[in-house]
Subunit: 131 residues, 3 copies
């Protein structure tokens, strides 16, 4: 089924979100920031921001990617999700090290987000029927 | 295709979420709140809360809207999403200015959320078949 | 329609997310933490973390649950969502009282999340067709 590829990539994207949450839990222990606090050692705060950024971008990316997959091309949508994920992983690995190192991954994922959004818009507009 | 209208509105909702995130980035520069900090100048904190509120409401709204679109009426679902977005934009513009000015937009989007949720529930219950 | 059961459970999950947001608003008044602040009395911070945790987990759970429902078994997916919700409610009720009491509900919802994710993966892999 053509939609199975974007579904598979969605499962990987969701797994990555859960992993960044797991890393926040680990940083809570390592840097002694017991819940419910969300501030403390900068390394903890970076881990926390990685997860939040992952979350807010995924909520924007997944709907756009699925609209592209459904109304446009599911294989290209799955490919876009793969590239997006590469950017997200690079973003997280960089940010976990140092705030400045999040830039490259961020650029990759944001450019993929923009391309996916435009591709979704074009795909949908072909189907719009106001009559 | 009837689902293309809610898809189009979803793309606009997602774009608005990304715009509120962009405004947080801008406020980081303007009010000198380098990442990963999330506290500082109240104007930065308001920009941050606008984005977070956008995010948490969209995660609740989009599933309800799509369930209404799929099981009920996709044109009314798209209309609900348009009204919801008007409320969200008014909420953000007000909140960026002053915390109190977020009220009107909040009320519009929350009433639309409630109506959409009930419409989705009624639409789904007609299709439930436990047999 | 088989997908109506996961849709119904999704509406309940979304309602629960909105309720945890409502509890944050109530805690803002009770513990005098006016917006946009997100820190203050530990009871407010716990209410805030309940909502954020609800949000970040729902963004991971709903896509996995829907992929399982669409490519696998919608009735089992709805059941997984019901068990997940029981865990989330127990998590919130515990956390609202005391940070340590969030554990049991967390374990239930996370185990359900893991099972649902694997079930979704297995369901999708059967449909993958790279040819």
């Amino acid at each position: 089924m053509p939609l199975s590829l974007p579904a598979l990539m969605t499962l990987l994207a969701v797994l990555w979100l859960l992993f960044t949450a797991f890393m926040v839990g680990r940083a809570r222990g390592k840097y002694k920031v017991p819940a419910p606090a969300t501030t403390g050692d900068p390394a903890f705060e970076r881990a926390f921001r990685v997860q939040m950024n992952e979350l807010e971008n995924l909520v924007a990316f997944l709907p756009a990617m699925w609209i592209f997959a459904w109304f446009g091309n599911p294989r290209f949508a799955a490919l876009a999700c793969a590239v997006y994920l590469v950017g997200r992983v690079a973003f997280a690995i960089g940010y976990w090290r140092e705030a400045r190192q999040r830039r490259h991954g961020y650029t990759i994922s944001m450019m993929t987000m923009a391309i996916t959004w435009v591709a979704a818009l074009v795909s949908v507009l072909r189907w719009i029927d106001f009559a």
